[in-house]
Amino acid sequence: MDFSLSEERKMLQETVGRFFENNYKDIKKRGEYLKMTDGFSREFWKESSNLGVINGLVSPAFGGLGGSGEDICIIFELVGKSLCIEPFLSSGLLSSTILSSLNNPKTDLINQIIEGKLLMSFAHMEMNNRYEDHFIETKAKLEKETWKLNGSKSFVINGDSADKVIISARIEGKVNDKKGIGLFLVDNNNINNRPYNTIDGYRSTEMSFENINGELLCKDNQALKCIIKTNSAGALALSAEAVGIMQVCFDLTLDYLKTRKQFGKSIGAFQSIQHRMVDMMLEIEQVRSAVMLASSTFESNPTIRDKNVSAAKNLVGRVGKLIAEESIQLHGGIAMTWEYSVAHYAKRLIMIDHLMGDADYHRDRFKLLSSI
């Protein structure tokens, strides 16, 4: 076993880390980016592309320079540390994962994503879908050689600014069937978007569409496999993001405990507070370990991949709540303010449990995959 990063990955970590930090120094910056038309900074996205960050999310087989579980985790941990709101997840990871998993991979589109020229989103969730891979109400039907899509998609992160959207739709069968699903490529101009911000400061959108044209990317077993893999990639990335956030929450809290004085000493001097910091520290190490395992088995067979991703994401949900709540509580009133960054980290950390499967979902999936 080897628990250390290779030299190249360390370099990636350093350059990307420095770049993110420089652009997101002040939590106010994030608010300004969110207010922009697209809900993020196009300029920052373009620079990320120039620096090779998006490249790092894609395998060399499709024109990228990374794409392994480890690469994904390095980049998303840094996304978490700076609370970046650019479409690293929707375009950079989820869309490119689907495009590269097809029988005929769409390398041209992947390359446009890498170059920062094309934005894409994966529209899978629906209002009544609670993270399931195959619970799909949106319909697809073949009409004179063209596929027509009808329905609506929910909580599509950065979906409003996407040029193209990948939509999961039901070709046949009942809403919860594993068979009969297709993935379709759609031009976002044909979709009605209702964009909004999320409570953790991201841009998201509700999509609805009637009889729009879609290009079939894959269907049935291949489509389901593709959805599962993509959702696992997303859950892994969010878990790594959470590790970055937890570390920042811990560091900010420890810093504050050292400087804030009450009763004539720093509040960190009280032993009851120290014990809680130790609890936080050990739980973060637990999460970090589970995420490392999940990242190292991400290229394994789907069962091992998904089982370890579920373990990581379940822990992220449970520990994320602890870290978010304790960071606020140990800070006292100051953490309740918009002005101070810890609140924004805490909100994102909590809401990560509402994306790509919550702790309950992943506990259930872990049970299934490990035949408990």
Binding site: R130, S154, R194, Q329, G333, M336, A343, H344, K347, D360
Partner: protein, 398 residues
């Protein structure tokens, strides 16, 4: 022991319920239900109604305009106003300052301020905390210097809840800088319209304006606004805090949140079935209900004991801790119940008269926001850690 409500109690419940039904306007009920932003006028409307009915100062002694209700009736009343979706009674005047004035105020102060509180004429704010004095309240720095017929007040208060509406603020100030901190504190009533008072908003993590900074620069405060004796304010301050804490247990609020949680988990779907059918989730709801059931009795035991006239003691600290944890748990399970529906956040949804299509079910809108906002209740009113220190110190003899 008898845990049943008597017929008299039930009749009282009906009386309160009917009165609320008759007097609480529909629009206000709707705003409260939808967690929309309440204006100063919204709060005042309800409090004025209570005042006219003689129910605003329901827990004061009868001779000062209280109701003479027993502990059970008080409990029923609190429960019914929450059930009816009435705004909360702004506590600073009637629940906090009132009892202090009754116990320690001069005749002149009682004659002037108590009727004004009863008639809801002044909006009061609580000026305890300062940037450097939170848990360690006694380390406060705002000074009041004796200038003969008045004090000259300088300093800054913070976290002042709804201070932007306030006409008056009761403050802890330093009147003697040369003795042990607790001994040099006085309790002063300050008119917010005095020259030199400035209020600045603090925006909280949910994007709302609920708390403020209040700055005092050479503010002249007449000597007659001193409550009790100079340098003895600490005693009054602590007396007030025990009243602040019992309310914070929030049993009625948690009960109504639990009902809301059950409704939401019947409507939320998991794999095509109602979430409440999920054995793990429903077990969490059940355990929350068990905690709440026990806490309601714990609370009633405590208020009944306190009804003998004593200010509630250590139990109020225990109740504050448990009460806040249970209430926070209700907001957590509500958030969990929503799944991805917790994500969208439309700030305009909380404005009166908003009538666009919500995203997802209408009840989803406020839930995540409420979860984050409720982090405050284990911080204020004396943080839960400080309550534990108080209990350990007072009862273990270690």
């Amino acid at each position: 022991m008898n845990f049943e409500y008597s017929e008299k109690d039930e009749n009282f419940r009906i009386e309160v319920r009917e009165w609320l039904k008759a007097t609480l306007p529909h629009y206000l009920k709707e705003k409260v239900k939808k967690y929309q932003r309440l204006t100063k006028e919204d709060y005042e409307l309800f409090m004025n109604n209570l005042s006219k009915k003689g129910w605003l100062a329901w827990h004061w002694p009868e001779e000062y305009g209280g109701t003479g209700w027993n502990a059970i009736e008080k409990h029923i009343f609190e429960e019914e106003i929450v059930k009816a979706s009435a705004p909360r009674i702004v506590p600073f005047g009637v629940n906090m300052l009132g009892p202090v004035l009754i116990e320690f105020g001069s005749e002149e102060q009682k004659n002037y301020y108590l009727p004004r509180i009863l008639n809801n004429e002044d909006w009061w704010a609580q000026g305890y905390s300062e940037p450097g004095a939170g848990s360690d309240l006694a380390s406060l720095k705002t000074t009041a210097i004796d200038k003969g017929d008045h004090y000259l007040v300088n300093g800054q208060k913070t976290w002042t809840t709804l201070g932007h509406h306030a006409d008056m603020i009761f403050c802890l100030v330093k009147t003697d800088l040369n003795i042990k901190p607790q001994l040099g504190i006085s309790f002063l009533l300050i008119d917010m319209k005095s020259p030199g008072v400035e209020v600045k908003p603090i925006i909280t993590l949910d994007g709302e304006h609920e708390v403020n900074e209040v700055w005092f620069t050479d503010v002249k405060v007449p000597k007659k606004n001193l409550v009790g004796k100079e340098n003895e304010g600490w005693t009054y301050a602590k007396y007030l805090l025990t009243f602040e804490r019992t309310g914070i247990a929030g049993v009625p609020n948690s009960k109504s949140a639990l009902n809301h949680l059950k409704m939401v988990s019947r409507k939320s779907m998991k794999n095509g079935k109602p979430l409440i059918d999920d054995p793990i989730f429903s077990s969490e709801v059940a355990e929350l209900e068990i905690d709440l059931l026990a806490m309601e009795i714990f609370n009633l035991r405590t208020v009944s004991a306190a009804a003998e006239g004593k200010a509630p003691g250590m139990e109020s600290s225990l109740l504050k801790i448990k009460g806040t944890l249970v209430r926070q748990k209700t907001t957590e399970l509500l958030r969990k119940a929503l799944g991805p529906q917790a994500l969208p956040y439309l700030p305009e949804q909380f404005d009166e008269g908003w009538n666009e299509m919500p995203i997802g079910p209408e009840y989803a809108g406020p839930i995540a926001k409420q979860y984050f906002n409720m982090r405050k209740i284990s911080i204020y009113g004396g943080s839960n850690e400080i309550q534990k220190n108080i209990v350990a110190k007072a009862s273990f003899g270690l």
